[in-house]
């Protein structure tokens, strides 16, 4: 009985949040539409939502094609970068001194806006899809590497001592204690990284690309086809949200003990 009421309350809360979000969103759209209508703003600076809306469906084939092109880069880079970081951290973390040094260096590198390198990396890794995936991977690597090293090396000593009294091997300690207790941070980093990855994928396409939604935005902006530019941004938002909430769902499934 108690559980059911809590669940009901939960659903009620979600519904409330959803309604509020939707109304805020609608309000922004309305203000946007009216602002453009009443200020007579130049059509090559801003277009009203009512002009963007039909384009979203009319040019679905082009937009989807370019979106998929970009998200292939994004997902490939995101998963590779994050995975390499996790695996590297697993091998490095048993060496305490080394881990400390790596954390320091990575935090330093992470403070550099690496996306600035996208302009120059094109010459090294090429302007193709692989090149973009490498840039995305690079941007996802450092946050994940730091998170993993930190959480692998900051384990509650009491719990570890307990496992040691059971004469658990280091491998057992890692799989039973260290890794599971690091999962929340790993998944949170994955969630932050997917947004970083989308941003890196789209922006790196501004510096020369063989396709993709960033490339499309650049091309259509040059022709002042703003409805198409906004439609492209809409597609990015939708796809980005789907990715973000998928990772969130994975978080809830894999770390049920954390709310």
């Amino acid at each position: 009985m108690g559980i059911i009421t809590i669940k009901k309350l939960d659903n009620h809360q979600t519904l409330k949040t959803l309604i509020i979000s939707c109304s805020v969103f609608s309000f922004i759209i309305l203000v946007w539409e009216l602002a453009v209508y009443f200020t007579n703003a130049s059509r090559i600076v801003i277009v009203p939502p009512s002009e963007i809306y039909p384009v979203i469906f009319k040019n679905q084939d082009i937009l989807l094609k370019e979106l998929i092109f970009t998200f292939e880069e994004v997902l490939a880079g995101w998963s590779t970068g994050s995975l390499i970081a996790i695996v590297l951290a697993i091998f490095i973390h048993p060496f305490r001194r080394l881990s400390q040094i790596f954390i320091g260096v990575s935090v330093g590198i992470n403070a550099i806006p690496l996306i600035a390198l996208a302009a120059i990396l094109g010459g090294i890794v090429g302007t193709g899809q692989t090149g973009k995936a490498i840039i995305v991977a690079l941007l996802c690597f450092f946050p994940m590497f730091i998170s993993c090293l930190k959480s692998f090396t900051h384990i509650n000593l009491k719990e570890r001592n307990l496992l040691q009294t059971y004469s658990a091997s280091y491998f057992q300690q890692f799989t039973k204690l260290i890794f599971p207790s690091s999962l929340p941070l790993i998944l949170t980093t994955l969630k932050v990284n997917i947004i970083v990855a989308i941003f890196a994928g789209v922006v790196s396409e501004f510096f020369g690309a063989h396709g993709g939604i960033g490339n499309l935005i650049l091309a259509k902006k040059g022709l002042y086809d703003l409805p198409m530019v906004w439609a492209a941004i809409f597609y990015i938002i939708v796809a980005g949200s789907i990715c973000y909430f998928s990772v969130e769902l994975a978080y809830k499934l894999m770390v049920p003990w954390r709310k």
């Binding site: 130049s42 090559i44 084939d61 302007t127 396409e205 690309a209 063989h210 650049l218 040059g222 086809d225």
Partner: protein, 358 residues
């Protein structure tokens, strides 16, 4: 008690605020600094970075032709992500050197921009393919990777593609091209955009024989559009016609001098030459030669530099409307005026270019 101990001493806060105020003040004062006082200020936005393409304007500035006309000119270089049309519309420049193909989509979206003088008399755009890519005629474009420069420089390639009965968004792969020819040389793209006064020479300077490439001249392919025209907002034109006449006069003198004294012009541009890229002196000399041929061409040779050839303008608008979906209805009589040019060209004496154009 504890709280008051923790808050920083007043003097530190005061110093920080003062520094911030100085910083902000310095920034804004620098934005509006006015050295000339008397002379009329005008801002010219170039299409691209300072190079031989704009030699005449830079020479006019260096030799004081603008000063002679009582003009204090600020020449703003362009660059990646700077669209001269955007700069013009947002009032950050009074005059823009822009490609007509770049201006037309803005005009068909309701912007009131006017052409007051036409620099280059014909298109300088080429599309270049390696013969090994299998492109030997315009009919071979389907399914190819085609390099363009998005941001207002892509209308001619688009028209060229659509003219072959292809859909630019579906039948070919459009690749945004860097401002070099590496993607073409590395076979990343099949067809590259190239300006006859710049990129066209890069592969040749790198040692590739001219016979390796198939070159399409947009002018000959019926996709050529006017480039490097002088555009202003109508409001500015109405309020400052006399200033624009003086500006155009000084610019004509600058270009006249640059075309007749090409080597001196390249040195007068005030750019730091590099060893061996597009800013190398040899490359700029080559570029100057081609640019001169584009300015002192066709009707401009007899009637005077910056002549607006209405037929060419008509043709540009027609090509854009026929082949580029993004360009809508345009009233051609509203996008140019010959008044400024007629007043500026009065009493102008141009040099004889025969020798220097070879």
């Amino acid at each position: 008690m504890e709280n008051s101990e923790k808050s920083p001493p007043f003097i530190v806060v005061a110093i920080l605020v003062a520094l911030l105020a100085i910083g902000i003040g310095y920034f804004y004062l620098n934005q509006n600094k006015d050295e000339s006082g008397e002379r009329d200020k005008i801002t010219l936005q170039l299409k691209w970075v300072e190079q031989a393409q704009f030699a005449g304007f830079l020479v006019a500035d260096a030799k004081g032709f603008y000063e002679d006309e009582n003009i204090d000119i600020e020449i703003k270089p362009g660059g990646v992500g700077i669209n001269p049309v955007d700069v013009l519309i947002t009032d950050e420049a009074d005059i823009a050197v822009a490609w007509t193909g770049n201006v037309l989509p803005a005009i068909s979206n309701g912007e009131d921009l006017v052409n007051i003088g036409q620099g280059m008399q014909r298109s300088a755009m080429r599309m270049m393919a390696k013969k090994s890519s299998g492109v030997s005629s315009p009919a071979d474009l389907a399914g190819k990777k085609i390099g363009t420069w998005p941001g207002g420089n892509e209308l001619e390639p688009y028209a060229f593609i659509e003219k072959q009965g292809l859909d630019k968004d579906r039948d070919v792969t459009l690749v945004s091209q860097g401002f070099d020819m590496n993607q073409l040389l590395n076979d990343e793209i099949d067809l590259a955009s190239a300006m006859i006064y710049n990129e066209y020479w890069l592969p040749l300077e790198a040692g590739y024989p001219e016979s390796d490439f198939t070159v399409f001249d947009m002018e000959e392919e019926g996709a050529g559009m006017l480039q490097d025209g002088l555009f202003v907002r109508r409001k500015f034109l109405e309020d400052n016609e006399d200033l624009l006449v003086r500006f155009l006069k000084a610019s004509m003198k600058g270009w006249d001098y640059a075309i007749a004294h090409q080597e001196e012009a390249v040195d007068l541009m005030g750019i730091d030459f590099a060893e061996n890229d597009v800013t190398a002196r040899d490359h700029q000399m080559l570029s100057m030669k081609e640019v001169a041929k584009l300015y002192a061409a066709d009707d401009a040779l007899e009637k005077g530099l910056f002549y607006i050839n209405k037929d060419k303008l008509d043709q540009t608008v027609e090509i854009a409307q026929t082949y580029v979906d993004e360009v809508g209805e345009i009233d051609i009589d509203k996008i140019y005026t010959t008044t400024v040019w007629e007043k500026a060209v009065e009493g102008m004496e141009f040099a004889n270019y025969e020798e220097s154009l070879n």
